[in-house]
Symmetry: none
């Protein structure tokens, strides 16, 4: 009983230290520019000894990976909730895009750095086979397919559409991160979806096909 409680407390403490270290990394990344924190700096910032870092993380790469991972986990949950929500395909897409923009806006400083180094991308598609990335694309594709099934979207390769939508969002997010005075995220989200859904062509008249 006592043993169990002690283990419990220790695990909590362990998690706390991890968090402290990860947060130190985030602070360093956002503060002193992107191009590489040192383990020494991390230790100092987190208020632990250098060796301690290696008790919690396998090495520098692992530490950075975990930070990236942790920084995206909440977003993933939000997106998952949207996928499972009782919404129509168009609404889901709107929500997905809006959530992404909002999320990155909230942690601007960190993502500015991570995205600049394509760390986010690397995290998402390491070795071109990252399962998380594939999973999200698959989910988006499902939404698109659903839209086609019920007739609100026209028939296109769902997988390609999904990838394009996702990447375009990232692109817009990048845009926003690097511009000094980005428009409100709601506006950009609406714009992105609007273009994506209806295209830029003048509607009634432009009956001519592209190609």
């Amino acid at each position: 009983m006592t043993t169990v409680r002690r283990q419990q407390r220790q695990r909590e403490w362990e998690a706390l230290t991890r968090r402290a270290i990860e947060e130190a990394v985030v602070r360093l990344l956002t503060k002193s520019g992107s191009q590489g924190f040192t383990m020494e700096q991390v230790a100092a910032e987190a208020g632990v000894a250098k060796g301690t870092l290696y008790l919690h993380f396998k090495g520098k790469k692992d530490l950075l990976d975990q930070v990236k991972e942790a920084s995206l986990a909440p977003l993933r949950e939000e997106l998952e909730a949207i996928f499972n929500a009782d919404l129509g395909p168009q609404e889901k897409i709107r929500e997905l895009v809006a959530n992404q923009l909002r999320y990155f806006d909230e942690r601007r400083d960190l993502f500015k750095v991570l995205l600049e180094e394509r760390q986010v991308a690397q995290l998402q598609r390491t070795r071109q086979q990252n399962s998380r990335y594939k999973y999200i694309l698959g989910r988006i594709a499902s939404v698109v397919e659903e839209g086609m099934r019920i007739g609100v979207f026209r028939s296109l390769e769902a997988a390609k559409v999904a990838a394009m939508l996702f990447e375009a969002s990232i692109a817009v997010i990048g845009q926003r991160l690097w511009s000094d005075h980005p428009a409100p995220w709601e506006e950009d989200a609406r714009f992105l979806v609007e273009v994506f859904v209806h295209g830029i062509a003048a509607r009634p008249s432009s009956r001519e096909r592209t190609t």
Copy 2:
């Protein structure tokens, strides 16, 4: 006269050496993965001494910048030609996208590395003020505006549309670079423009607004 000719020859030699060094960097980047060539390797690959590198380039960063710059110069010229060509807005956009996809396809190995490290992006928008990037966006925006003026595009913020188009292209290019068997570039280009111009919404029926 002799002096002039000698200067001439020297400048040519200087240019030759620069090229040799830059090509050595490209070879190293494509060959041994991305993660950082050393000045030593560059010197060896180029067949010059380490010190020589510093006669032609200010340092490692400068060298890398020049390589990236040089690797994109031809593309910039091609795009410029398209901007100046006697084509309608839609055709121009089609051409622009197609050219980009083709260009990156041709030097897959190099750009895979550069893009993976967001080097291309950094080159294009270093410190959020990169003039080249702004210039291109401005040109694309002009095309879009022209399209609005003559009524083939509907009225949207041209600058935003331009940025979105450009970034979406980059995103698709990234997609293509990292997938092992990408579709022919012509196909992806057509797809990209198709979606961008007409949207994914089912056409006749989808009269409802996207908020």
Copy 3:
């Protein structure tokens, strides 16, 4: 009474733990090569916590010393028995050498490691004053002197002869440990004593002195 018994039990438990730890070290030494086990590995292998090691041993050096000590104790007892046995000098020498070779053969793996790092030697003559080493040499010297006294050995410096015999044995043992297919230890022991006792010179004729 209870107190006494408890103390008794505690001392046994303490001895057991020590043994477990020492055996863990031996396993590590023979297993993963020689080049240095870590206290962490020892703890894991012994199934105790790192801190526990320091309750039983002063530090790493002490631990290693104890292991070496323990690994040689049985041999020392065997040799002691021979010294005290009722045998003639030649027989004693034969037995001493034979026993050493056999003993090291039995624990090949461990001694291969210890000898490779001259750990055995260090144990035997740490700081040039190791009393155990001196004790053994003294005992061997006594045997040699006895042989001289009764006329089976010729008159030579007994101390030097003892040292030479002992070191030569160690040398042969080293030889045997490092060769993949050593001859049976009986054979090498016989050979060693034969040469040591009678020399390599052709006998009847070689009356000439060696300077």
Copy 4:
């Protein structure tokens, strides 16, 4: 011509630096005990920067190997000269042993350290297959065989005799290095050979066989 001379000079300078570094290692080994000099110390002692060490040696292991190698090279040459000299087998053996003892005496401090860590042995028989070691043993064996052929040695396994003689020499050398007041090397050399050649048995009487 100038180029050649410059290369010549550079190679000499290079050799000089190497020597300086190696000597720094020797000084450190003999001075501050054996158990490990640091590259930092070496650099300081040699009066060069840490990085310089890595221009001349692949790493710490390489550096130590080279030092050991260099410290034994002269001895190897001396022994080679003896092998090739016009001497009888007994004289050759006497000379070989004497030379070894003298050589190690001359550089007592260094070899005390190297031998203590079995570094010499490791150098000589790394991976049980060291060719240099085998070569020397083979040469000694030849001398022994020659002695058998001309009848001064009795018929014994030459290879084993050679190994035993060599190892016994090393053993005596070790003895001498660690004793504070060793006898003159001439004396020990004579003693070693005397025992080795004629044995310790009282001569005329000891007709009985060992075994």
